[in-house]
Amino acid sequence: MQHVAIADQPDHLHDPQTFITKYVYSQDHKVIAIQYGVTAIFVGLVALCLSAVMRLQLGFPNTFDFIDPSNYLQFVTMHGMIMVIYLLTALLLGGFGNYLIPLMVGARDMVFPFMNMLSYWAYLLSVIVLLASFFVPGGPTGAGWTLYPPQAILPGTPGYDWGIILMLSSLAIFIIAFTMGGLNYVTTVLQARTHGMTLMRMPLTIWGIFTATVLGLLAFPALLVSAIMMMLDKTLGTSFFMPALVSMGESLDYSGGSPVLFQHLFWFFGHPEVYIVALPAFGMVSDVLATHARKNIFGYRMMVWAIVGIGGLSFFVWAHHMYVSGMDPAFGFFFATTTLIIAVPTAIKVYNWVLTLYRGNIHLTVPMLFAIGFIFTFTHGGLTGLFLGNVVIDLPLSDTYFVVAHFHMVMGVSPIMVLFAALYHWYPLITGKMFNQRLGKIHFWFTFLGTYAIYLPMHYLGFLGVPRRYFAMGSTDFIPESAQSLNASITISALIVGLSQLLFLYNMVSSLRNGKPAGLNPWGATSLEWQTPHAPPRHGNWGPVVPTVYRWAYDYSVPGAELDFIPQNHPVSAAEQTAGDHGEGKS
């Protein structure tokens, strides 16, 4: 097969000549991954600062004159959009996807390196366009990250002209970038694996990233189309989402459009999107758990099918975000059912993570701590999701802080936990240096306890009935004054957690210099990325010959083996042959 043959010969890769081609216009998936990662973390920090400002207003209302109702909404919107799309989606797929896929499936690079490079530059452009909206007249859009029309493009909402236009353009560019990258990831996983790497021998990380990418390729079209339509409504005055209405006392000449249609299209993208964020996290955490518990992931096959199943189901639940949107109420029955069905495969994953630790030999390293933090917070967040999914319970809770608490617990904390677990786990591979364990642990305790202190109480604000996207609660008859003290404490923990991220950044940067060399496979991991001839892996990854795979990615503590791990590229010994099925069931 000549196209595989290409991958087999290093000299067929575009070897970088100059510094520019090596670090700037690089087509090496590892460099592109780092470019993605750094950019994403940078915007992530912007969004983090925005959240701090929001919290200041909510915790101590009417004390800061640099926050007013307009820019509060703008901060909320940018915070949400950046965190979901430009941080998590980009970092998990563009960053980790790019870095890990070729290494873990034993390829020399992505199948279309040039397109891969374009993908990053398009992403960078989309980020620039997004941030540019802070500097245009009227500022960024304040329509909420859901960008619901009509208000998104009507006076009364901050940034209703330039802000929203830039936001929509930025999203469109991001989608193009994602598509170019995504086609690469999918094709690489499906077609460019090394000898012996069957799908059922791939690490769960790859399964998670792969499924998420497929979701992205099928879900982003909905966002693209609704963005185009809203752009036309805004610029040409078409009426896709705009019915006849009276804005600021004058009736506009829109007519006949349907705002609910936008919501359907947005959530047809939006719900898969939240799993685009979740699935790579699911995958990576599985590998971290297995490696540091020195035990094979429990029920690998079920885990794979759960990932695929969740991915598939996620296209049939979107309107659970719309129970109170005024859509045909009959839909409630359908979507409540599908939504709660998703709990079953997800539950299986949670069980299997815990059962992986059960009878393991657990090293409480920094990545492991974050992984445990993930299990705890995700279970909590997922269970609150079941409240919202159960349509009648959503009636009182929708659009309150309960929802905010739910999705932060499940998206703003647990995948972030995995993010950190992964960054610490693969740091030695990416940089060849070991990070500072003590700092890492301190960072963990602040982040884990801090975030729980933020979001557990937030659920109760929701039960009280505090609405989301409120600049200030003002006074009501049913919310006790004491709720304000709750808000204040949430803010304080948020600020502490936010600051403690500096520990992380310092650790990452300083360890580049001072960290001691990590060696080839510091964690004693079995998956291929750790079996490269050099750490960090060089261009082309594998030296002269690509590795051959003989076993699944989880041969930890195999009875009778001399080490407590057997890398995937180690031939199966005669002893094992007789011992019989060793994860070969998984191939």
Partner: protein, 225 residues
């Protein structure tokens, strides 16, 4: 236990074949990278167009103003005869013809007949270009009749908006296809793919047929509904 390279053995039929393909070593599908990528891209693109059409359906169903009757709007007076949808019919035939020539091109490409391939692709591109031309005529005619994206004298405002948006987006795809085909045709003529193999022609073909496919649905749902 050591998986042998299955790539040469994509022979098992039916469901067992499905299983063995998916559990194959190294690669799941027995197709070149570029072809698989194109297929996945087309799948994604299918979603884009489906959602465009779904949006169109929804706004049309919920519009209270009367919907203009396309068969009248797109009628032409030719030699004194009043012919409904005639231009659209011609466009449809142009596109189908191009699909046929494209299919031939692919066929000859694999037979290694460079000249025929190049010519057929050129013909395809030409037909595509003529399609775009007629589309442009259609647009200017409607605009002349006062149809605008934001409204029209005949009824529901969404008629204009959906028409320009969907046919426009499809038109862009055709235009891109014309350019793509011309480039590939030129390279084919120059024997650029002699050792690389002619999969590229089939890939370009996939894209072109897809554009035709989309038109089939637009024709049925927009013009005939």
């Amino acid at each position: 236990m050591i998986q042998t390279d299955k790539s040469s053995s994509y022979t098992t039929p039916g469901i067992p074949g499905l299983v063995s393909d998916w559990s194959a070593d190294r690669q799941t599908f027995d197709v070149p990278w570029g072809k698989l990528m194109m297929w996945i891209f087309l799948l994604s693109d299918t979603f884009i167009f489906s959602i465009f059409l779904t949006g169109y359906m929804t706004v049309r169903l919920s519009a209270t103003d009367p919907w203009p009757n396309p068969s009248e709007v797109f009628a032409l007076e030719i030699a004194g005869h009043h012919l409904p949808l005639i231009l659209i019919a011609i466009m449809t035939f142009a596109l189908i013809t191009s699909s046929g020539t494209m299919a031939m091109a692919v066929n000859f490409a694999y037979r290694g007949d460079r000249r025929k391939t190049a010519w057929l692709m050129a013909a395809t591109a030409l037909l595509g270009a003529s399609f775009v031309g007629m589309q442009a005529f259609e647009w200017s005619k409607l605009i002349a009749e006062g149809v605008r994206p934001w409204g029209n004298p005949m009824g529901a405002a969404q008629f204009g908006s959906t028409f320009f948006m969907i046919t426009g987006f499809h038109g862009l795809h055709v235009t891109a296809g014309v350019i793509y085909l011309s480039i590939v045709a030129r390279k084919v003529a120059r024997g650029h793919y002699e050792q690389k193999g002619y999969a590229i022609v089939e890939i370009a073909g996939l894209y072109w047929h897809f554009v035709d496919l989309v038109w089939v649905f637009i024709f049925a749902f927009f013009y005939l509904w």
